[in-house]
């Protein structure tokens, strides 16, 4: 009776299936950082690039003389004459020009530390600022930011954005419900190439569950590298030499 009951149970009726086993794959640890050499030709090219980069850095270091040029200062007729002379001399003897610049900057220094004149300048700057703000309010809020604080006009900012939009390949597997903002601070050279870059929320990269952030940050850095030299204005280097790009993928991925 027991045997009959057991035989009538459905699970007793099924034969085991003959399946080939899953073959394991063994992971072998190899060095994270490659120790394989460069191809001879590539090594030469890299050395050349390195040397060029060094040269560019030394050439591009912003001269202190330039810093002391005051954009607000109204050029006096005497200055204009001096400048004309300078230009003539520049062609013949560049060393003399340096002297002239140094003298001019020392003169400006004295001027800055004259308290009476500073007060006058500040009063003037207050008025100027107020006037600028008044004018800007007539246009748009963003113009205030662009022309006064950011130092880029709307069209300059648009040109830069359009350039980076084209270079930024968004990683398509990002989790759209997470914070997908990467802020990168750049120090630019006068020609718009990148001297150094820094991810502002770098600590987030190594946090558990934030693996996607590293991928996103890398894509942003890649976009900057592909795009450089960045489309920055040809003048006013001091204003835009430090630039912060906020890459935000949320808007695009959420649609």
């Amino acid at each position: 009776m027991i045997i009959l009951t057991a035989l009538s149970l459905p699970f007793m009726m099924r034969e085991p299936i003959d399946l080939p086993p899953i073959v394991s794959v063994e992971l072998i640890q190899i060095s994270d950082k490659t120790k394989i050499p460069f191809a001879p030709k590539a090594a030469k090219i890299l050395e050349k690039i390195k040397k060029e980069e060094e040269r560019i850095v030394s050439e591009q270091a912003p001269p202190s003389e330039k810093k002391k040029e005051k954009p607000d200062r109204v050029p006096m007729p005497e200055d204009l004459k001096k400048e004309k002379k300078k230009i003539v001399k520049k062609k013949q003897n560049p060393e003399e020009i340096k002297d002239e610049i140094r003298q001019a900057s020392e003169f400006e220094k004295k001027e800055i530390f004259d308290p009476n004149k500073i007060a006058a300048l500040i009063d003037k700057s207050k008025q100027d600022t107020a006037e600028i703000l008044k004018k800007d309010k007539k246009v748009t809020q963003s113009n205030v930011k662009n022309s006064f604080v950011s130092g880029l006009t709307l069209s300059e900012e648009d040109a830069l954005k359009a350039q980076i939009f084209g270079c930024w390949s968004l990683p398509l597997g990002l989790p759209y419900q997470k914070n997908l903002l990467v802020r990168i601070k750049l120090r630019l050279k006068p020609d718009g190439t990148v001297l150094r870059s820094e991810i502002l929320d770098h600590a987030r990269m190594n946090k558990p569950g934030q693996g996607f952030y590293k991928v996103l940050a890398e894509s942003a850095l890649r976009a900057i590298r592909i795009c450089q030299p960045l489309r920055v204005p040809p003048t006013q280097y001091e204003k835009w030499k430090d630039l912060q790009l906020n890459f935000d993928a949320n808007e695009m991925l959420k649609g």
Binding site: E26, I30, D32, I122, L172, F247
Partner: protein, 447 residues
């Protein structure tokens, strides 16, 4: 004195505002697949050929790189570049790449590597390079049996996918499905298993019993499915490693629509008796059965959330079949779909953020996704007849099956497996030897 201090303070503030760092918001980018160059893996000298069945594989390195390329292209996230445009040869594996050459063809990532087959061992080494940053970002090596080269290619594809997208891949996984053959009226249905790309098909049953709705355990190589025994549908459990199969519970009626709990310790299913169907769970160790829903309507297609706290299911308790969510103990039942037509086969994403479903409306079938509260419904694909979505292990791709119309004799009928990603644009047919239905995706084998 006060005046001077004020002046210094003002100068400081004024200067700061003028010299503030310019911030530019980048809110748009390129959504094209990432251009990647996959250099054929270099076959080291002294390597042996691989014999696989009747075939002999001479250059396994090339085969592995071709499979990686296919995997990445099918994901829709990568654009593998044409090999004809490559300037450097596969022997690049022995040196650092000349990044300038790869930048020229617009590659943003590069895969190089080498293989050697010796003494019945296949050793594969691969490196992934960020071409723009000119640096190596992944370096790994694997060793296995030579005829297991496809799995090596899938594992490498997963490593590349994870490093470049930030989420787990899904290539080293398998799909269990119902293989179908014959006329619609006389279908022979077998349980079959294959790699996610359709290769290595194995048939698990002979076709003398009807099989339906196979489902993988998320934790191990167990499969649960529905099979008929003496004209009574029963839920079965199959261990793929040992081949042993058994019936789940001795219910005095019909059991169907089985699925595993996220920890793989329970099976949740429907049990029908006297025209009523409710949801039950059974603990696989203790065999204790628990009734989860108790309603006069038909409650079926249960699916756990990945944290095991909630269950989605479909029920006709409101008149038409709709999707509901409740706590795993059966309390707090909430209806989450209110659209026109009927909704069914809800499946919770392994990421926990979405529920996939089938919707029927105006004589058409749709596969869609929505948030777990029912909001944000998106219909990904529309067809004459399609249903039974199943998630890839990373929650990015859905596999389902689609049937075609047939004439009154059952001719012209076919059932095929398809996949679609969350964007709704990357829809692909999965090639199978026979027709197929009811697919279920396994978790990653190498996890």
């Amino acid at each position: 004195m006060k005046k001077i201090l004020f002046l210094i303070f003002y100068l400081f503030i004024f200067n700061n505002s003028v010299m503030a760092v310019i911030e530019v918001d980048i809110t748009r980018g390129n959504l094209d697949p990432l251009p990647i160059a996959i250099s054929p893996l270099h076959l080291e000298s002294g390597s042996q050929d691989i014999k696989q069945g009747d075939k002999t594989i001479k250059n396994v390195g090339e085969k592995i790189s071709q499979l990686i390329e296919t995997n990445l292209r099918r994901s829709g996230l990568f654009n593998p570049l044409k090999k004809e445009s490559f300037v450097q040869n596969p022997d690049i594996a022995h040196v650092k790449p000349r990044f300038e050459d790869w930048k020229l063809i617009k590659a943003q990532a590069l895969v190089t590597g080498k293989v050697i087959v010796k003494e019945d061992k296949l050793r594969t080494e691969f490196r992934l390079w960020d071409v723009v940053a000119a640096k190596e970002i992944v370096a790994l090596a694997f060793s296995t049996r030579p005829d297991n080269w496809r799995r090596v290619a899938h594992i490498i594809s997963d490593k590349i996918y994870k490093r470049l997208t930030g989420e787990e891949g899904y290539f080293d996984s398998r799909i269990i499905y119902v293989s179908e053959a014959g006329l619609k009226t006389q279908r022979i249905k077998k349980l079959a298993i294959m790699d996610q790309d359709g290769a290595n098909v194995k048939y698990l049953t002979l076709g003398n019993e009807l099989v339906l709705t196979p489902r993988f355990s998320p934790k191990n190589q167990l499969v649960t499915y529905l099979s008929y025994f003496r004209n009574l549908p029963r839920v079965y459990l199959l261990d793929i490693e040992t081949g042993v199969q058994e019936v789940v519970g001795d219910f005095p009626g019909m059991t169907f629509a089985p699925r595993f709990s996220p920890d793989g310790k329970k099976i949740i299913m429907s049990f029908a008796k006297d025209g009523n169907s409710d949801i039950y769970t059974m603990d696989l160790d203790s065999r204790v059965v628990e009734k989860i829903t108790d309603h006069t309507s038909i409650d079926t297609s249960p699916s756990y959330s990945p944290d095991g706290k909630y269950i989605s299911f479909n029920s006709d308790r409101s008149g038409l079949q709709q999707i509901y969510v409740m706590r795993s103990d059966g309390s707090n039942v909430k209806r989450i779909t209110f659209g026109k037509g009927i909704y069914g086969t809800p499946v919770w994403s392994p990421r926990g953020d979405l529920i996939a479903f089938t919707r029927m409306h105006n004589g058409k079938f749709y596969i869609g996704v929505m948030r777990t509260d029912g909001s944000g419904e998106r219909l990904l694909t529309e067809n004459y007849y399609q249903e039974a979505p199943s998630w890839s292990p990373n929650g990015r791709v859905l596999i389902f099956y689609r049937e075609t119309k047939s004439d009154s004799d059952g001719k012209g009928f076919s059932a095929k497996l398809w996949s679609i990603d969350l964007t709704g644009y990357n829809e692909r047919l999965i090639e199978t030897e026979t027709d197929g239905s009811d697919p279920s995706w396994s978790s990653l084998m190498s996890k």
